[in-house]
Structures are given as C-alpha cells and as structure tokens.
C-alpha cells in the first residue's frame, strides 16, 4: 500500500469524489429537506420541523397509498415468481443451444424501451384492442372485457416489464443446481411435490429471494405504468412523491415520503441478507 503510488491515489480520489458528490450528498440533502418547512413561494424555509413526518403518519390517506403500493408490488412479485420459475427451470434443463435462444428471446423485449412496451400494452388491452378481438372472434366472450384503467391492466403491464428481472436471478441459481440430487430423490421414491419442496425450493432459495427483491423494489417506484394503464385513479407511492414535488410543491413532504420508502426498502434488504446468511449456514 504505497501511499506515494499516484495511479492508486487518483483512482481512489475519483471514485470517492464522484460517489460523495453525486451519491451521498443528494441522499443527505433529501434527509435534510424532509425536516424543513414548506414555503409556497421559495420551495423551502429553513425551519426545522417534524411536520412532514407527522403528516404522513397521521393522515390515513397516505398510509392507504403506501399499503396499496406494497400490495401491488407484492402481487406483481408473486405473479412473476409463479410464472417465471417454470421458465428458469425449463431453460436450465435445456441443451445449451436452446438455452441461449430461450434467454435471448426473453431479453429482446427487455431491451425495448419500457414506455413503448407499456403503450403497446394499452393497444392490446383496450376495449377495441387485440385481446378482446381475439377472444370475441374465438367466441370465448360475448361482450368486450373492460380491462383498461383497472388494477388488472396495471398488473398485466408490470408483469410484462418485470418478468426478466425475476427469471434471470432465478435462472442463475437453478442452472447451478445439482440435478443429480433431484434424480436421487426421485429414485428414492419422492413424489414431484416433495421433491420440489424439500430439495429444489430450498436449494434455489437464494435465486428466488434475489428475483423477488429485483422485482419488488423497482415496482414500488414504477408509477408511470400505473398512471398510463390505471387511469391515475389509484395513487401509488411514486405518484405521491412526484405530485408533492411537481404539483403541490411540498418538498418536505415528498422528501419525507421518500425517506420512509428508503427505510422500508433497507429493512427488507437487511432481512433478505439475514435470511440468506441464516439459510446458507444451515446448509451442509
């Protein structure tokens, strides 16, 4: 660790500088702002107050928004997990040639702009959209399904965007799975169900949890999907923060909401880390 080493010094200086200026400082400023008072003319007044936080906890409306966002994120996560796990499983079992193709086919939509995809969703789910057209002409329904601007539309859109985030970490873990263990279990007479619950699930748990985190966290913030597909009827945490900053001009409240959100995420991530450590210690 020669301190005189110039290259090393420059590198450390650069990365520290960047992270402190653009990483730590903004978050710190956010924390500070959450304790200030709102000033309609000048954005914020420098008087310390807990008003923003108390507002969040006292007014029932905000808690409702928060629970709604969590519910949506959770539902999306479970949907992605349920429908995405088979993808990871089947793909891991394929021959390498098919594997790459399957993954590429999964990724191409991902590399397409998410707004464009959400817009496409609108065309599919509308009353005169493709989905209704197909169902009507197949005779499966008689009047068009009203999906647009409901929670189902939002869910469909979020699932569409988030699926790859679940599949990729899952796949990474499933691929490393020792399939001989599965076959051994089957040889020993275990049914498909117990094979899954006793062998496959526990061994792929890290991937499952990684996938869940990778879906849950962004979904808490993806409010524009909800406003494009859900009709701005049901406000989510992201909408709330955006409104506080852009419409209502209440920066302290917006900052406070964000801080609470960060704390919530941090708690979840720490929980994930702890569970992971506990789990890997339990394994032989």
């Amino acid at each position: 660790m020669k301190i005189a080493d110039n290259t090393r010094f420059c590198i450390i200086l650069l990365i520290s500088g960047w992270f402190i200026l653009f990483g730590v400082t903004p978050l710190l400023l956010l924390v500070i702002t959450s304790f200030l008072t709102m000033d309609p003319a000048n954005l914020v007044k420098f008087s310390f107050t807990l008003k923003a936080y108390s507002q969040l906890f006292i007014e029932p409306g905000y808690i409702i928004i928060f629970t709604r966002s969590v519910k949506l994120a959770l539902t999306t996560t479970l949907l992605c997990l349920g429908l995405g796990y088979p993808f990871a499983w089947y793909t891991a079992r394929m021959t390498p040639k098919w594997r790459t193709s399957a993954l590429i086919l999964l990724m191409i939509p991902f590399w397409t702009n998410s707004l464009v995809r959400t817009y496409a969703m609108r065309m599919v789910l509308g009353t005169h959209g493709i989905l209704n057209k197909i169902l009507l002409s197949a005779g499966l329904i008689h009047t068009p399904l009203k999906i647009m601007y409901t929670d189902y539309a939002v869910l469909a859109g979020l699932f569409y965007l988030m699926l790859p985030f679940m599949v990729l970490p899952l796949y990474a873990t499933v691929e490393k799975l020792n399939f001989q263990l599965v076959e051994a279990a089957r040889d020993l007479g275990a049914g498909a169900f117990s094979t899954f619950t006793k062998i496959i699930f526990p061994l792929t748990l890290p991937g499952i949890m990684a996938g869940c985190i990778m879906v849950f966290v962004p979904t808490m913030g993806l409010y524009y999907v909800a406003s494009l597909l859900g009709g701005a009827r049901q406000l989510l945490v992201g909408n709330l923060i955006q409104q506080q900053f852009l419409n209502a001009g209440n920066w302290p409240l917006g900052s406070a909401t964000s801080i609470i959100l960060i704390i919530f995420m941090a708690v979840m991530l720490i929980g994930y880390g702890l569970l992971l450590r506990r789990f890997s210690r339990g394994r032989e």
């Binding site: 954005l43 409306g61 009353t127 005169h128 601007y149 009709g231 406000l235 852009l246 209502a248």
Partner: protein, 346 residues
Amino acid sequence: MKPLFKALIILAVVLLAAIQTQAAEKIYVYNWTEYLPESVLAQFTKETGIQVVYATYDSNETMYAKLKLIKKDGYDVVVPSTYFVSKMGREGMLMKLDQALLPNMKHLDPELLNKDYDPDNNYSIPYMWGSTGIAVNTDEIPKAQITSWKDLWKPEFKGKLLLQDDLREVFHMALRIKGFSGNTTDPKEIEQAYLLLKDLMPNVLLFNSDSPRLPFLAGEVSIGMIWNGEAWMAQEENPAIQYVYPEEGASFWVDSFVIPKGARNPKGAHAFINFMMTPEVAKACVEEYGYPTPVKPAIALLDSNISGSRTIFPAAKVIQQGEFQNDVGQAIEIYQKYWEKLRTGD
C-alpha cells in the same frame, strides 16, 4: 492505452456534437397538450426564421412547479389559465408585456381584455377560451337524460366516469350543484363540495387531462367531464359523442400567453404572441381544436358549420348561466387539502 485513447476521442466528438448549438434563433414554448397545431409553428418559423422548441404540460400546477425550478434560461412563452396568471403575476414570475410589440392586439375581443385577473393586460394576452361541461356517448346513454352536473352522480354510472385531473374544475361542479360560486373562498362551502365529491368517487373510472376524448373514442367511458374543444374533436371522429352544458352552469376559462421572467428571448416571444393573434392563425387553431378564439376577425373567416357550432361558440345565455374561473388567493390551499384527500383516499 490505445483503446482508452480511442474511447476518449469518440467521447469528445460526441460531446462536441451535443454542445454545438444551432445557429438559428429559437424560442421555447411551453403549452397545454393538444393546443397548438404543428402547421402553425412551421408557419411561424417560415415567416420569422425563429425555430420553436415545443414542450407540453397537462395541468397548471405542473407548469407552475417547473417554472419555479428554472430561474434563468427557461421558457419564453407559457400558457397559464386565468387564476394562475394572477398568482404568477403576484409572485413576480412574469415579465411585463411590451404592447408596442403587439400590434395585433387590435384584433382581440374587448370583452376578454382588461379582466380582473390581469387589469390592463400587463402580463397576459388571451390565446383561447372555452368551457368545461359534460360529454356523453349517445350510443350508450340517451342525451335527453343528461342535463345537469348532478347526473354524473347516478349510481348506474359506477366505474364509468371520466373526470379532469384539475381540482378547480372538479370542485366547480360540486360547488355549483350546492348553489355556491365556483370561485368561493369560504371554507365551509368548499368542505360541503368535498363531501359531495366523496360520494362521486366510486363512479370515477379514471382521471385524465392529457386528452380526455381518447377514453371516449376507445369506448372505455361513455360519460364524463370534458373541455368543449375535446368534445368537438371527439365528435368529428364519432358523431355519437355529444357535449352538454349543464344547467347549474359550465365553468368557463381563458388561457393566456405570458412571458416568464427567466425567458431567454423576450423579443422572439413577443413576435410569437403577436403572430398568434393574426386572424388566419387563430382560424387554424379553432379549426384544429374546437376552442373559441378571442381574435374577432378570425370568426368571420370560419366555415359556417364551425362558427355555428354551439359546442365551440356557446350562446350568450349559456355563458351567463356559467361562471368564469377566477383566482381564489390563499383559499387554494383549502381546495388542495380536500383534493388530496379525494385522490389519496379509497
């Protein structure tokens, strides 16, 4: 070292391409969505050589917040509604207009000048005005059934209603039903309106101020609150969609051109505003969007089916029945408080 060098060169070239500003003169216009035809902008550039960089917003509040963040090198022309003109004028956010640079003011209807929100038109020039009423898809709902704001509360419309994402207009509805003014500052009256609106919420399918006619055209909603121009545009595509002036009174508004204090090119901005007041230009705007114009000579240039349309140009009686939006000063905070409650609850 070589690949690093190459990367840096590419980066430098790209950065140069980015920073290089075009030689042409520009103005930055910030306006409501669906409110200015591209052809008009192109015409302006042709006549003056000034390029227009155009951005849009869907609510006064968003526009106001954006303007507060950009102190200099900001937008040159913005189009707020009446009560925001007075608010922004009070807060010193607007530049005083140089009426010497606006000779086309002579074309404007004197009825729309010198109003309370901007006496002497120090800050604003009216661009378009209009009303907010009810749109009905008569294929689904007979027009005769819809005559009043109260009809929106009917239980058979549960989950079928479209509302504008605008707190003043939504409250206007409820206030007029209760017999109060849409511009009231009395907290008790506003609270009563709020309680009435709470009952309406289950009927609402969505809030939309970007382009309220689209859900109608797509068949997602068949009744709702809408601006008259949007209704007229919808009617052009689907004649079944009709506009109703509610008996309690529609809300009338005026959107005006203003020049924010941080404008880069005030001269260009004045040229633009003056251009927008030429009769041919105003005519094009009416034809495209269906909103009435304050430029009197333009009306004579219109086709009779447009100048005669009651959706675009309401009868004097209807205007009297209705009410023009005005500033409510500090009371806006009361409205905001209840609006938030409405939007976050449920």
